[in-house]
């Protein structure tokens, strides 16, 4: 479904991604794990079209999408929940969700998806007209996910959805991710919480300072000695 082929990304003089390649197959949950500054967010931002790679290619459903601007990427069926949630704090929950459906013309479908989001996240339903900035961290994460789902993506990119959340809430969020995937949405999940990520993923990649250093099935990786030492705390 998604093929990233040896992309190089620079921020000015900083070489952030050094020939990163990865593949996401339809229906899977793929996780990309790695330490701070490894380039995980940069990878997602490049796929979403927010940054252009210097070279290399990104292919989605057989189409070359390298260098396609971000607002077109969304219409192709890729949606991202960015790191730090980035909800529109000065707008209501409802307005945030409406913005998620910005490109859609099918009012009926949007309405149905909105109802589905509220069903999935009942806490958002109770807070429709509340300003997003006044939601708790967990609620904001749910809103960011709901907002991304409103474009009805076939591929959902999640950047550290567990960041800053209490363990119980992390469990809840991961259960929801699994559920979204079960509903037919393919997922590329960036995480520092390798334990949790590997427990729900099919395939995993490890990113270290801009390079993929390991990849395999999530099961293989969670048993690998190197991964256990580096990311799973023993």
């Amino acid at each position: 479904m998604l093929k990233v082929d040896s992309i190089n990304v620079y921020y000015g003089g900083i070489h952030a991604l050094k020939g990163v390649s990865l593949e996401v197959r339809e229906g899977e949950i793929v996780t990309l794990i790695g330490a701070n500054g490894a380039g995980k967010s940069t990878t997602l931002r490049t796929i979403s079209g927010l940054i252009k790679p210097k070279n290399g290619q990104i292919e989605f459903e057989g189409k070359n999408i390298t260098g396609v601007p971000a607002h077109h990427i969304v219409s192709l069926g890729i949606s991202q929940v960015p790191e730090g949630r980035r909800v529109f704090a000065n707008m209501s929950v409802l307005e945030n969700l409406e913005l998620g459906a910005y490109l859609r013309q099918d009012a009926k479908g949007v309405e149905a998806d909105m109802a589905q989001v509220f069903e999935r996240f009942p806490r958002l339903a109770e807070r429709k007209s509340q300003l997003a900035g006044t939601l708790s961290g967990g609620e904001q994460q749910m809103l960011a996910m709901g907002r991304a789902l409103m474009s009805r993506p076939r591929l959902l990119l999640l950047d550290e959805p567990s960041m800053g959340l209490a363990p119980l809430l992390v469990k809840e969020i991961f259960a929801i991710i699994k559920d979204i995937n079960a509903g037919g949405t393919t997922i590329l999940l960036v995480e520092q919480n390798a334990n949790m990520a590997l427990s729900i993923a099919d395939t995993a990649y490890v990113l270290e300072t801009g390079r993929i250093t390991l990849s395999g099935t999530a099961k293989e990786l969670s048993q690998s000695e190197a991964i256990r030492k580096a990311y799973l705390g023993g």
Partner: protein, 295 residues
């Protein structure tokens, strides 16, 4: 009694003058909210609007409303072109480069305007016969009523657009977090163009209204009101739409009160003094308590 009369009279004058500042201030604040640029050419768009209104009513014999709409439309297009040609290529450039470009565009419009329409002030035609109403000693003329009515209508329309329409929500989203807005599928460049169009249209409306009010227009007429509208925008909290409206009205009222009760010589000095005092106490402007809430 004499004093209250005088006070009410100056308040009325101040509110009509202030609503003009508010219309111009809105363009400053909207553009700032979306690309963090103080568009110094904005006052000259107001001048351009006045001239389009002038030629529409004189050369083309248009009535007031079509002339107003025409001025707004022309200014909107010019605003879009300026953004495309002068600011967009500098999107990644340092702030100071863009600021200097804005000053350059401003000078281009002022002196280009002089070549095009001569530096001679023009007398704006009386679009409707002047009529004054004396309500218990307080003088209101129909120009003031028109200024107020048009300004209020435009501000209500703008508020509706920003809060209720899809484009307005996109504008607020871009203003708050540009990259997050992109991830929603919002074409940020398009939203920036629309913002320039709306801001320029409002300034042009102000230009036409001023032409009607003061009868006289010239190519440098945008400098002082442009500066004051900028002050009004900062006063209300730059980037905040209701702030620009409030700031404009307050500035107009202060000016009228100073002219009426002290001396019109101190009018401008008073306006800027007030700005300094308010910013000492509220550095982010009157409505700018929450720094992140921009539109």
């Amino acid at each position: 009694m004499e004093f209250t009369h005088q006070l009410i009279q100056q308040l009325i004058n101040g509110v009509s003058l202030g609503s003009i500042y508010a219309l111009i201030a809105l363009g400053y604040t909207m553009v700032y909210g979306i690309i963090r640029l103080i568009n110094f050419a904005h006052g000259d768009i107001y001048m351009l609007g006045a001239y389009v209104g002038f030629f529409a009513t004189t050369t083309f014999k248009m009535p007031f409303l079509p002339a107003l709409i025409m001025a707004m439309a022309v200014a909107a297009v010019v605003g879009i072109v300026i953004e495309r040609a002068a600011y967009r290529p500098l999107r990644q450039a340092p702030k100071i480069a863009v600021l200097i470009t804005a000053i350059g565009v401003s000078l281009l419009l002022e002196y280009g305007g002089m070549i095009l329409v001569t530096p001679q002030p023009r007398t704006f035609p009386a679009v409707f016969p002047a009529h004054t109403y004396n309500i218990g000693g307080i003088i209101v003329n129909n120009q003031q009523i028109v200024i107020l009515a048009v300004s209020i209508a435009l501000m209500v329309l703008l508020t509706y657009i920003v809060h209720r329409t899809k484009t307005g929500k996109a504008m607020r989203a871009v203003s708050f977090d540009t990259d997050a807005a992109r991830l929603m599928g919002i074409d940020v460049d398009r939203i920036i163009s629309i913002t320039f169009a709306i801001g320029s249209g409002l300034a042009a409306a102000a230009g036409v209204l001023v032409g009607i009010y003061y009868n006289s227009i010239d190519p440098l007429m945008g400098i002082m009101p442009g500066l004051k509208a900028f002050v009004a925008a900062v006063l209300g909290g730059i980037g905040i739409i209701p702030g620009a409206m409030l700031g404009g009205i307050i500035l107009g009222v202060i000016e009228a009160l100073v002219s009426g009760f002290i001396s019109s010589t101190f009018r401008d000095a008073a306006a800027f003094a007030i700005l300094i005092v308010i910013l000492l106490f509220r550095p982010s402007g009157l409505l700018g308590k929450n720094v992140r809430e921009k539109v």
